[in-house]
Symmetry: C2
Subunit: 399 residues, 2 copies
């Protein structure tokens, strides 16, 4: 009797065991310089202000702030106003608050996609996007993404045009994870038009757009969506703090009942305490005030990373040159294997994410994702120096 | 182009649009006495203490408390110690922290069950349990539950014994929602034995056991689980506060990687801020100290409800007599329809949950769930008085 094990669902076998979490755990070792993370800079998290917001909410709202609750209307209103400033006209009732962008993706996947049906994602993309499509057993139609101009919309149209229409497509419009590239306004309008023309729901995963180093972000794809075929997914993790675990979906108002029932089946609701504290934060803080020093630091760190790459890998590798976000993507000569090199990198006390973590087929083995947002410039320089030693050894042993 | 709508998944059609949320919304109207809720008593939520815990954590842990993080080890340790005191020996690494019990159920459903496969639940049960089984398209094998002795384990064995084994079964051991009944120690041991004998994973949903009016709760079914076939699901919503949105799963250690990857695909992780604050709360509070006045108030309210039922419906209806939890289940004569009566009840400024909300087939139309935990005794008496007027009118018009 004791050697019987519960047998697992077929569905769970589609999920890829993420290496990201294991790699992230390395960042805890203070002797390792981790370029593997995806964390916003800790020094710029609004610690005192958020503590004060929690205190205000608990004193003002009392037990209501610790009870079960519905979606917090003042937060829905703030989000609707924010989206309006970005060119997306929505009422507060069309804002569905989630536990971060990943839950938005998970809910929309369940709303729109059944296992075995076709879905379009980028060939190189965030593993969380793979998990809500391939991880649910979808028939995958990956499209290429150019390091300069972003997702290939001709390939998107070709994937839409097939006899069996995809049930959904997912794009990252700004500061793509892991590629760092953004879509032009023209491509955003075109993507919305393709979704409308072929009747394919397009999910826009947008956690990074407010992390432009300077200037205003472009309007999201949703701003060009006249046919209500675009679902926008936002997040407070990178613009306020990951631990608020809050984000939002903007979809067609007619689908709110189904979105609500899916969400309730998953985990009922988001913490009303955190929803209230975030609403209080934005009632106090002109949006972006606390982001300004973060953006400036990100820019300095990104420039430091790019300069260090040029110093150590100029002529050997190619990399993206983002104007915001958290990540640079570097491609090394075809025969270099960043996955195989990883243990040696850890011996040299430096970590990155191997490119293959971002593909379904394990390709991109000569690439890596490098994070610049949560390291001081000196650590970035030292990290790339260590990386050049790892790779120098490798080139030597391979010669 | 504009009249095309995104088409929804087949899967979402299995989900039942919950009436609970709509009914809960009624409780906001202060002129309605809502016996429909499932909220812990607001007056006993540890408002000042929890505010102080949040402050301590943010001052002590700084930016770490607002960042991405893994499962918070001190909270896992506290939960492992708590489970040990209840007779379940587990290491902290076997505790998987979730966003409340509903997320525990959703994760385990995805771990163990594919659409179309058999699942066992009680005929009358919490809609959240229906949503993770029938709501995922399972082939349902419901078993009856007795108002005095709980789930019918002969029926459970019969459901297990069929040629195609169920992929999972879900039971509520203590203060059943909505029936209010608990399983005896003998039945708990028997249920664990059946799971082992037939190799069927048994999920034990246990949010209420610490709400016994007096005395210690019985050991959970998991305490009798020698074969690692029982998955325990716990929650802080009723014993600390709903807005912490935290709960936990105790399953076989070998399944933690799969549980982790499912959870990451759904919403990455639980707020480290809330995890830390709950750990701080239990580092300060001898477990149960803050629960004592809550339990006493619950008992008084339950006794008030039972006395009012006796006064107005004695001889006409039958009801459960719980020794803890939040709910009483009342059954009226067969020809009374609590669903049809509901609009009239609202006209009389009283609300309850119609029994049919707790069944897959819409039966139990002559029953209702009554909550006593979040109303003062005077309001409970007045609510049952109003209910008797509604039903008096109904009896009159039906005569």
């Amino acid at each position: 009797m004791h050697d019987v094990m519960p047998s697992m669902s077929r569905e769970v076998n589609h999920l890829k065991r993420s290496v990201l979490r294991d790699l992230l755990a390395l960042a805890v070792d203070p002797t390792i310089i981790s370029l593997a993370g995806g964390l916003p800079a800790s020094e710029f998290l609004p610690l005192d202000e958020f503590r004060s917001c929690l205190e205000t909410v608990l004193k003002r709202d009392g037990a209501e702030a610790l009870q079960y609750s519905t979606q917090h209307a003042p937060l829905q209103e703030w989000i609707a106003g924010y989206m309006g400033r970005r060119g997306v006209r929505v009422g507060p009732e069309q804002v569905f608050i989630t536990n971060g962008a990943q839950q938005g993706l998970a809910i929309l996947s369940r709303l729109l996609l059944d296992p075995g049906e076709p879905a379009v994602i980028e060939q190189v993309t965030f593993p969380g996007i793979q998990q809500v499509t391939a991880g649910r057993g979808a028939q995958m139609r990956p499209i290429p993404t150019d390091l300069e101009s972003g997702a290939d919309l001709e390939a998107l149209e070709a994937a839409f045009r097939q006899e069996t229409r995809p049930r959904l497509a997912i794009l990252v419009p700004d500061f793509h994870n892991p590629l760092g590239v953004s879509l032009s306004a023209e491509k955003r309008a075109l993507a919305a038009g393709l979704a409308a023309r072929y009747g394919v729901p397009l999910i826009e995963d947008d956690p990074y757009s407010e992390l432009a180093f300077s200037g205003q972000p472009l309007p999201p794809i949703k701003a060009y969506d006249e046919a209500e075929m675009v679902f926008y997914v936002g997040s407070f993790s990178k613009i306020l703090a990951p631990a608020v675990r809050l984000g939002w979906i903007i979809g067609p108002a007619s689908m709110t009942p189904q979105i609500t029932v899916i969400r309730e089946s998953l985990d009922l609701e988001s913490s009303t305490l955190l929803q209230r504290a975030v609403a209080e934060f934005y009632a106090r803080d002109a949006f972006g005030r606390h982001l300004q020093p973060l953006r400036a630091a990100n820019q300095e760190r990104c420039e430091t990373l790019l300069a260090a790459l040029e110093e150590h890998f100029g002529g050997l590798a190619r990399w993206s040159r983002p104007s915001g976000g958290l990540f640079v993507w570097a491609r090394f000569p075809q025969e270099w294997d960043t996955f195989a090199l990883f243990p040696r990198a850890v011996e040299h006390r430096v970590a990155y994410i191997p490119g293959a973590a971002f593909t379904l087929d394990g390709s991109q083995r000569n690439a890596m994702r490098l994070n610049f947002s949560n390291l001081r410039p000196q650590a970035i320089r030292e990290g790339i120096q260590r990386l050049s030693e790892v790779i120098g050894e490798h080139a030597l042993s391979g010669a």
